[in-house]
Structure formats: structure tokens, C-alpha cells
């Protein structure tokens, strides 16, 4: 019961956060050079069109009213029209979403699959000096290499020796899975390195901290074997900070996706947003910000809920 209440409260908070975010984006749109009409109208800047827009979006009404109607439009999937292509922004984004989702999903999955086991292993074997040094160094090094530095290096290396992978040349997965993977492996690996490092070091530290807890001593004192101690107590308790860090990774990842999509010419939302910015197609930028923020807020909420599932102490509390 408390758990359900907690989940409901979290969802409410996420909605509230999203509302604030969209308010900020809305205000940002109003502050744009050229004004709101231009973004909605695109290049068709006639008096009649202006009047229609003023009517439709109620630009003569008060700002709060305008915000509400804009919000309603956004909730209906109406982000406005691209100034360049004159296609609804929502359609443009939707068309490119697949590549970005695939890219980030591949990166996150790789980061988790590599970072988690390595982090747990490094945390458990910390009494060995070589493991300790290695774990920290890999963690620090990976977390210090900007994705675009790595991306540039990979582009350089693989444009000299292809090794079966391609730089650029994106094909949708369902057209040619093999070609798709060959094009996606490099950008996804570029994005995953930071995540691997971040998750590795957080997992390692989290495991180390949990290992000093009294219940671990208790389990050792009861003669439980190490494998079951890890399975029953260490992993569960160590997972909490890792989940928090995973959301931080996600936030950096979505930004990094822009850079990597540019570098490897992956036609995703990031590249689209970037090109739109270069073309001063600001409506697109705003919509993308809203979309990415929505993803982050949602993931944050899911992590909060997962927290409560793992740690019963959280459920009673309202914050933190």
C-alpha cells in the first residue's frame, strides 16, 4: 500500500517536473529571436497567416493562457512546423527516433553489461592491489575521455582500416540488419565507454561500501559462502547508487548522442537537431529539448520507483 502511494507520489512529482520543464521551454520559445509566429509559420510570413496563428494560438491572450494552449498542442503531438522542410516537427523527429533509440540503447546495454560485472569483480577483489589499481585507472581513464575525442580517434582508425565496420553509412535495422550493425557499432561503442567507466567505478565503490556493512559481517560470521553473500546481500544493496548514476549517464548520453551522430553521420534526432540549429530552425531545438527532458524525467521516475522496490526504507519518506 505504501509502495503504491509512493509510486503515485513519484509520478505526480515527475509530472510536476515535466510541467516546469515545458514552462521553461515555452518561455525560451517566446524569447527567441523572430518570435513565436515565425517558428510556427515557417517562412510563410503573410499578414493573413499571422492573423490565423494569432487566432489559433491565441497570441492576443495572456501568457498563462497561451502556455496552456501550447501545452495542449504539445500533448497532442503538435510541436509546430519545421521552417526548413515545412513538415510537422513531430513527424520529422519520429522518423529519426529509431536511429537514436537504437544508438542509445546499444550504448546503455553495453555499458551495463561490461561495467556492472567488472565493477562488482573489482569491488569484491579489492584486497588485491593490482585489481584495485587497475579498476580505478580504467574507471578514471574512461570517465575522462570525452566521447568526441574517442569518436574522432575511432573515425580516424576505422577510416584507415575498416575491419568490417563502417564509419557512416547508416541503414535502418529492418532493411539490412548486418549493414546497420556495422554502421552502429562504432558510434555505440564511443558512447558506451564513458558509461562503462562511470558504472564500473560507481559499482566498485558501492560494492566496497556495502562490504563494510554490519549485515555482511553477520553473513560471514554465519558461515555463508561468498557467492551467496554476494547474490543475496551485496548486489541488492549495491545496486542503489548504481541506478542513480545510470540516470546521470543517460543525461550525458543523450547529449553525447548529438556529437556522435554528427561525427558518424547517424541520421538520428541529435543530428537533426544540430542541423536545425545551424539553419536557425529553433522550433526543432525546443521540441528536441522537450523530448529529451521527457526521457530523462521518466527514467528518473523509474529509478525512484526501483529504489523504493529495493529499499523499503524509502517508501515511507516523501523526499530523497
Amino acid at each position: 500500500m505504501r509502495l503504491l502511494l509512493h509510486i503515485a507520489a513519484r509520478m505526480g512529482m515527475a509530472l510536476l517536473t515535466m510541467l516546469s520543464v515545458s514552462l521553461i521551454v515555452f518561455v525560451a520559445m517566446r524569447m527567441l529571436p523572430g518570435g513565436f509566429e515565425m517558428i510556427i509559420l515557417g517562412p510563410i510570413q503573410t499578414e493573413e497567416a499571422r492573423a490565423v496563428i494569432t487566432e489559433q494560438f491565441g497570441l492576443d491572450r495572456s501568457l498563462p493562457e497561451q502556455f496552456l494552449s501550447w501545452l495542449v498542442a504539445v500533448l497532442h503531438g503538435d510541436f509546430g512546423i519545421s521552417m526548413i522542410t515545412r513538415i510537422p516537427i513531430a513527424d520529422e523527429i519520429l522518423r529519426r527516433l529509431g536511429a537514436t533509440v537504437q544508438l542509445t540503447a546499444m550504448a546503455v546495454i553495453t555499458a551495463l553489461c561490461v561495467g556492472l560485472p567488472l565493477g562488482v569483480a573489482a569491488g569484491l577483489a579489492d584486497s588485491s592491489t593490482s585489481v584495485r589499481t587497475c579498476g580505478r585507472l580504467v574507471g578514471a581513464l574512461g570517465a575522462s575521455t570525452p566521447d568526441f575525442v574517442l569518436g574522432v580517434a575511432l573515425v580516424y582508425i576505422f577510416s584507415v582500416w575498416s575491419l568490417g565496420l563502417t564509419v557512416g553509412g547508416y541503414v535502418p535495422f529492418f532493411e539490412d540488419p548486418l549493414a546497420n550493425l556495422r554502421a552502429m557499432i562504432l558510434p555505440a561503442s564511443t558512447l558506451s565507454v564513458f558509461g562503462i567507466a562511470l558504472i564500473l567505478r560507481t559499482t566498485r565503490e558501492s560494492v566496497l561500501t556495502v562490504m563494510t556493512e554490519g549485515y555482511i559481517t553477520g553473513a560471514v560470521a554465519r558461515g555463508d559462502d561468498p557467492a551467496s553473500i554476494v547474490r543475496r546481500h551485496v548486489l541488492r544493496n549495491a545496486s542503489l547508487p548504481v541506478m542513480t548514476v545510470a540516470t546521470i549517464y543517460l543525461s550525458l548520453l543523450l547529449g553525447g548522442a548529438v556529437i556522435v551522430e554528427i561525427l558518424f553521420t547517424v541520421p538520428g534526432v541529435g543530428l537533426y537537431t544540430w542541423n536545425a540549429l545551424l539553419n536557425r530552425d529553433y522550433g526543432v531545438t525546443q521540441s528536441a529539448v522537450l523530448l529529451f527532458s521527457g526521457v530523462i524525467v521518466t527514467c528518473n521516475m523509474l529509478v525512484d520507483i526501483a529504489y523504493a522496490l529495493v529499499d523499503p526504507r524509502i517508501r515511507g519518506r516523501r523526499q530523497q
Partner: protein
Amino acid sequence: MLVLLVLAGAFGPFLPIGDPLAIGAGPRLSPPSLALPLGTDELGRSHLPRLVGGILETFLLSGAAVLLTGVIGISIGILAAYLRGVTDGLIARFADVLFAFPPIILGLLVVSLAGPGTLAVITVITVATLPLFIRAVRSVALGIASREFVTVAEVAGASPVRIMAVHLLPNIAGAAIVQLTYALSIGMLIESGLSFLGLGSQPPNPSLGSLLQLGATYMSIAPWLVFPAGIVLALAILSVNLVGDGLRDALDPIEGRRLT
């Protein structure tokens, strides 16, 4: 190594390595030589002083932004932890809202409003590091605020401001400094990322990120431009991270243990 890089950045302008902005110091895109140790770029500018200038730019911008984060974050974090209740809730939501903007994407938004440049970079770094920093400060300060000596000070009639400044602040300083180092490394990542995209400091001023972008453009014909910048950038961030690790270990060592 951090010291070396900072020194190089700080005293770079005074070193006899040439002017980072002088066009035509040598032939265009010439490979490294004795006179021009790292070669020249597309305008014939000597690359070494540009690199050194880029280090300075990266450290300065991210340092300034993180300082801002530090001041705002520490005050807000302590406030949340000490006052609890509604204030705490509001601050937590505020941090959530800031956290909802991914750094580079936020950069796109800010640039679309204010145009590219130093101000945009500092805004983006501050907004991006602030929520993480507030959370870290808050959780440490929460632990301190519930300790007896704070209660003792309250009973003795100390004002809330005094308690926050005299009792909480010094006790979270250590953790805050560690978090600030990490924020600095994230700040440097963001700064270089933004200038890589051309959204950061504007030409002709060099920044490690813009040097890298330039290098990437001419990568196939002038690879000497891209690698030093990339390596220096990674080393700079690495050294900041290692300093953070070292500080944290000194403040709060965790001993590993075995399960038998």
C-alpha cells in the same frame, strides 16, 4: 601532472613558443618541425601556443562555471538540509528540473537563445553540474545537521545563519571540494563538447574542443593537429578526476574486505 597542465595554461602566453593568434607563423598545415613543434593549422598558425591557450580557455571557463556551481550549490544544499520541510522539497524539485536538461542539448537551447560564446558555456556547465552538486551537498549536510553539536548550538541560541555558516559549512567543506573536482571534470567535458560543436568560445580564441574539431576536419591530411589536442584534453580531465579520487580517499578511505 595537473599542476604541469595548469602551469602550462597559466604561463603559456609568456612562454617563448609564439603567438597563438598570429596568422602565417609558418606555412599552412605544415607537419611538426623544430621551429613549429606541433606544426601549423589551416591558417598557418603555430599549433603549440594554440594548444596551450586552449588548455587555459578550457580550465578558465569550466573553472569559473564550477565555482559558480560551488557557491550556489553549497548555499542551496545547506539551506535544504537545515530547513528541511517545504524548502527542502522545493529545492529537490528545482534540482530535478535542472537535471532534466541533458548538458549538450541544453547547450543547443541556450545557444539558440543567447548565441554561442563564453556566457552560454558557463550557463550550461553551471546548470548541468548544479543538480548533482546540490544533491551531494544536501545529503552530507543532512547527516551533519542531525548531529548533536548542531543541537547544542541551537540550544545555546545560535541563529540559523550562524549554525549554517559556522557549524555546517566547515563540516561539509571536504565532501564539497571532492564533489567540485568531479564537477570540474564534467564541466571540462561539457566545455570541450560545446566548443567541439562550435557553440563555445569563438574563433580566433583557441579552446581544446574547437582545436579538436578543427583537427578532425583536417584529420586525413594533417593528423598532427587532432591528436595532441585530444590527448591533452583527456589527460587534463583525467588528472582532475585523479585529484578528486585522491582527495576523497584521503577524507574517507574505504578498505576492501574479503568474504571469508
